[in-house]
Amino acid sequence: MKIMVVDDDKTTRKILGLYLKGGGHEPVFAENGLDAIEKLAANEVDLILTDLNMPYMDGIELTKTLKTDPSFKDIPLVMITTENDEAERSKAMAAGANGYLVKPISADTLNKNVKIFAKKN
């Protein structure tokens, strides 16, 4: 599967990329919401993993934008963030996220969830 990782932190993009490659997936990367939207126009992806806190366009704003766009609304989107609290989770789900994962995450947990969300789709 081709999976987009949206995160402003280079190290996080790298480790998630390695985890996904280990699970047999092909990662594509974006540095923030705006970058993701630009890259989605050129890349057909099966799943989006996005951070919450990013400059220029954060994860909630990106989710809202994609979920109201007919071209992207069906791509499963999972928020993956350090913020482990119910209020943030609710906000993400209300914006249209299909899932919410908390960092740090292991390669196994990530790839299992990728499978679950892709299957749901």
Binding site: D58, N84, P104
Partner: protein
Amino acid sequence: MNKARLEKLKKSLNHSDVSRRRQAASMLGEGDERAIYPLITALFDKSLAVQDSAAQSLIQIGGEAVAYMTIPVLRKEASQRNAALLILKDLGEVSVPFLYDLLKDRDEDMRKFAVDLLGDIHVGVDYESLIPMFKDENANVRAATCRSFGLLNVKDGVKYLKEALSDPEEWVAFNALEALGAMESEEGVTAISELCNGSSLVLKFAAFETLGKIPSKQSRDALIECTKTTDSLTKSVAVKSLVQIGIEPDMLFLATDLRVMLQSDDWEDRFAAISGLSVIKDKESLYTLLDMAGSLDTSYPENEEHIAIIKDAVLNIADCSSLLSLCDINNLKFRGMAILVETLGKLKCIEAIDTLVKLLRSSLRDIRREAAHALVEIADERCVDSLIEALSDEDGHVRKQSIYALRKLKAKKSFLPILDLISKESYEDVVDEGVKALLSMDSSKFLHKASSYPENFKIYIAKYAQETELLLDLSKDDSKSVKIAAISRLGSFNQQNAYDRLSELLNDNDLELRRSSAMTLSQYGVFVDALLSAVNDSDMWVRFYALKAIAATKGAEYPDLFAQALNDRENLVVMGAIDALSILGGQDAYEAIYSIKDHTDDAIRQRVEEVLQSL
């Protein structure tokens, strides 16, 4: 900023029009501490553009008060939180004292933000206050601490980062590796090498990559050792890191691994392999490199870049004899062959002259062109006769390349054959090249009969001539095309008689000549008084270029001309005026452009919106 203006701008922050609110938020940036609270409030505006302007203005005001009032925003919604992170980071050192308190916050997210910001700001940060964060109960805070130590680049931090390599959370160890790599820490090499034999594949990959970032003998030795023991899956990462760190020409034992890596589908691996093979000058890889370049489809722009890299590598690895031995291989794809021929030229392989002369008669056009080009590079007198013979080649490109080669060789004996060729030549680019060659070989002999030459000769003479007088004559030629060619060059001569002629032409009865003159003045950024009346010319292109020329030279002296042109009946001229005013900037330009925001044309309204945003 006086009180009245401040109050007006504060009021505008509640205007129903987004662009008014954005402009107010932007202008408050010129204010003082009284503007901070209204701007903090504007961070919560429903428009992202207003939020962004408010954030930028807060950064512009700067100072401790802004930092102090921004800290609480970190606890708000994602969009405000991100704006606060951006502001505190850009404020820099003044934010630092307020961040230390957050390191003890009960909320782990606040602690992580503080650690991240202290790393991003790094100036004026007391790294010792961050040390306890390596033991934080939250793994994200520990990972952020590793990252920040990498950014702070504190040598004393290495021992903590080395400890973090054995953190129970892989994520933290990964960040510690990245930090040690960013610090290029030689002291960390042994601890990093231990991960090369660990059970975590991700950490093994990262350890190899990190060693590749530390330019030392110790890390190079560690990587060489790793390439001997690691499995094939991770070996390529180790070899790649070795190449990155810099291998030595005598490391021939890497040749086989590099050749395998060259066959990878991943261009990043191929680049590393090419780089390594270049260092060890592995001639056995030349065929694969040429074949690879030959199989790339040049209609994809990225392949152009790949071909350029391969060309450089071939040039670096090859010598004349290794290339000549590949000339006889029939299955080399033609583009690969063309690169081979080009390289023969770049290496100035005298011994390849016979082969190249033979290749001038190749059935493949690209090979003939490259062969002619290579002969130019070699620039040996022995090539001249073959090149003169090639002037009668059936392919126009070969004829053109041959002329080019003879020009470079300054082969005067080819003057008459070239003149003869271009007198009956059907391809204009060949005539163009021929005129250039003849001017370069003997301009006085060639220009002696200039007046009797056909129109196309004169056009190319106008294109390349260096004499103002000749161009002034040509600007009065009977042929309009010759005149236009000469006019378009006149601006490039910094001479009054050239500018006088261009001024004169701005009032010519012929529309095309007026256009050419205005265009030339705009292109070369030349101001003449006649431009001031040309902005009222009956032709929209003349008006457009006249505005452009004035904007590029004395725009600040004639703002009213541009404001007036905003009401032009032609959209092109209006666009030109908008652009000119946007270059001028300032409140008057803003107001003038704002006055046509409801223009009847969609494209103009859109452009106005863009320019108003940027102003």
